[in-house]
Each structure stands twice: as structure tokens, then as C-alpha cells.
Symmetry: C2
Subunit: 216 residues, 2 copies
């Protein structure tokens, strides 16, 4: 019915309003500090109203997590045009790193925190991690094409994808958790942490290049 649709639409609008307020506070002062009460105050409703639209705080965390993946997928979508698979793989890595550096809060929510993940488990109907799935499958597809060009010989697709994701994620998460800064200061006398990250990534790419079988 028409009125039914209108109702659910309005409900969706309120959900969006709440999420926007949550996002604003989240980006400005981090997840922990974006409390239910602050979100409510931001849009001028009582704290309990939030619970009429979101099950709990981790539900909001998951919604933001999804927004983050939407953004990352947008960034990745322009890389489909890169024809050479190894060039595309490098571009995926660079884009991923740029995303982490420009949106550290989102990165934390998407790849470092347990909370939005817990929400997925508790969800009825086993709602799957569609967003993450798509991103990972794009990586796997690209690596598969690289293999056909002679890269990563003798290694299976999933391990290679997992391993390359882990490498770049490792660098990004060490950056965000400030561990990279500390190692830079204490061990490497290098304060420019972004450069450190960049260089380590290049070293990794160099290793990958050496896996190429040139007879193919």
C-alpha cells in the first residue's frame, strides 16, 4: 500500500538523520566519544529515540562500517579500467593505503574493530559481510589475472590474496595504532611515517615483481 511505503520511507529518513549525526560526531571525535546521548542531542531527540531505529550502538557502528565500504568501493571502481593486472594490483594497494590515511576513523571501524563484526554474527538470518566480500573478490580476481601473466607461481590464489591484503593492512593498521611512529622514532630515526609506509609498500611490490616467471 502507498501509506505503508510512505511510513517505511519516513522511518528510513529518520534512520538516515541519526546516522548522519552519528557520522559527524564519529569523524570529529572518534567512535568511543560519539555517544548515544551526543548523537541524540545533535538532532534534538531524546537518547532513547535512537533505540527505536537502531538495536544498539554496534548497530550504528555497522551502518557506518557499511558507509565506509561504500566509499572504498567507489574509489576501487575507477581501477577496473586499469588493464594490466599487476598495475591494477599496485593501484589497489595505493588506493587502499590512501583511504586508510585519509579516513583513519573509517578504516578503524572497517578493518580493526571487533564491534561491527560482532554485530554481523548476532544478526538473524546470517546477514553476510557483502561489502567486505566484494572488495576481497576484486582483489582475488586481479591476483588471478596476475597469475595468468606469470606472477605468484606455485602459490594458490586465496593465500596470495590473503597475504597481500595482510601486508597492506598491517602497514595501515600499524600507522593508525601509532606503532609505526614509535618504530620510526626509536629504531629508524625517521619521523616521516607516511614516507616509511610508502617505502615499505614499494619494497613489497618489488618482492612481488620478483615472483614473475619471465618465460611465460
Amino acid at each position: 500500500m502507498k501509506s505503508e511505503d510512505k511510513k517505511t520511507k519516513r522511518k528510513e529518513d529518520v534512520k538516515k538523520t541519526i546516522l548522519d549525526a552519528a557520522k559527524k560526531l564519529f569523524v570529529e571525535e572518534g567512535y568511543q566519544s560519539a555517544s548515544i546521548r551526543k548523537i541524540a542531542a545533535e538532532i534534538g531527540v531524546s537518547p532513547t529515540t535512537i533505540y527505536l531505529y537502531y538495536k544498539d550502538k554496534s548497530d550504528i557502528a555497522y551502518a557506518l562500517h557499511q558507509e565506509g565500504f561504500l566509499l572504498l568501493k567507489t574509489l576501487f571502481s575507477s581501477l577496473i579500467s586499469v588493464e594490466d593486472p599487476f598495475e591494477r594490483l599496485k593501484a589497489i594497494g595505493r588506493t587502499y593505503i590512501r583511504f586508510a590515511l585519509e579516513h583513519p576513523d573509517f578504516y578503524e571501524l572497517m578493518f580493526m574493530m571487533k564491534e561491527p563484526m560482532d554485530h554481523l554474527d548476532s544478526e538473524s538470518e546470517e546477514e553476510c559481510w557483502e561489502e567486505g566480500k566484494q572488495v576481497f573478490e576484486f582483489l582475488m580476481y586481479t591476483i588471478g589475472e596476475c597469475q595468468q601473466k606469470g606472477y605468484f607461481e606455485g602459490s594458490d590464489l586465496s593465500s596470495t590474496a590473503l597475504q597481500s591484503w595482510a601486508t597492506v593492512h598491517g602497514l595501515c593498521s600499524l600507522f593508525i595504532s601509532t606503532h609505526l611512529q614509535k618504530v620510526g622514532e626509536e629504531c629508524l630515526s625517521q619521523e616521516d611515517t607516511e614516507l616509511l609506509l610508502e617505502t615499505a609498500f614499494k619494497t613489497y611490490v618489488h618482492f612481488l615483481e620478483q615472483t614473475k616467471n619471465n618465460h611465460k
Copy 2:
């Protein structure tokens, strides 16, 4: 003076008692859940007493962080006997992974959380990250020896060390944040996450082997 020593010794004893209680709760139910009040109740003192021995909760977090590094260093110390540097490098990786899987809470505190790191910054006299430094330098030393045997040619020491740390850390942190589980279920139809981690590590080692210049 003797009485002075006794006094500071007793003070240290109480600090240790508090830390042990904190560690117990921390290992049993995680950092967030190990509240000041619970720690105090555990040893039968009032919550405010804790603040006479530790500046704040992040101070306790840092003390536990140090305990974790002590344990990791103990595990690493037995690897000095491994003569072949590449074998030693592999052993370091395996030991690191085993540590992460067996002590996920400590791993989180040591390598994933910002809180203990913040404490280092706020510390007067710029107390340096000695524990982490030692571990990283052991890695660098080993990689340096690998280079002399023809591995990692054309890559500088610090980038290679950083990159290999990031790879293994990436795998461990994705395991702990449950992201690896989700990718295993959704994309790879592989529920055995530890096996997934293991295999990805082996793939990485295989890549490293291919960097060897056999003419040396």
C-alpha cells in the same frame, strides 16, 4: 637508608599485587571489562587506592603491555641459537604468530591498541619504547644477515623489516579482529582460520625465498 628501601620495596610489592589482579581480570575478560573497581575488589581495596600506585588506567595498560613484551622476548631469546639467518627469520615469524594465537589479549594490548602508546607520549622524560625497540632490532639484525646471504637484494634493511613485520602483524591482527574468520566463511569456504593464517604465512615465506640471489 634501609627504611627508605623497605618503603619503596613495599610500594613496589603493592604495585605488583595490583598488576597481578589486573592481569588476571584482563586475561579472563579483556581489557575493557577489567575495570578499576573490579581490580580493586579482587585484592580487597577501595578503587581509589589504585590511583595511589598507577596514574590512570592507561598506566596499567602500559604495565601489562610491558609484561607482554617480556614474554615475547623470552620466546624470541631461544631463537638466537638458530644459525642460518633465513631459518631464524622464519622461526621469528612462526613464534610471533604462535604468540598472537595463544595470547590474543596481550597481542591486542601490545600491537593493536592506541592506549598504551598514548601513555608513552604523555610520559615525562620521553620514556622510550625499549621493549618494542629490542624486538624490532632483533628482526632487523636477522634480516641484515639474510641480506648478506643474498636475500632481499636491492631493498634497504629498514623497509624490508617493516614490511615483513607488517605482513605477519596484518595476518595476526585480522585473525584477532575476526576479519579473517569472515573472509574465510564468505569468500573462501574455509572455516579453519588458523590454517588460513598458516598457509598465507607460508606463501609469504615462499615469496621471500624467491628474492634470493643464488650467485652469492
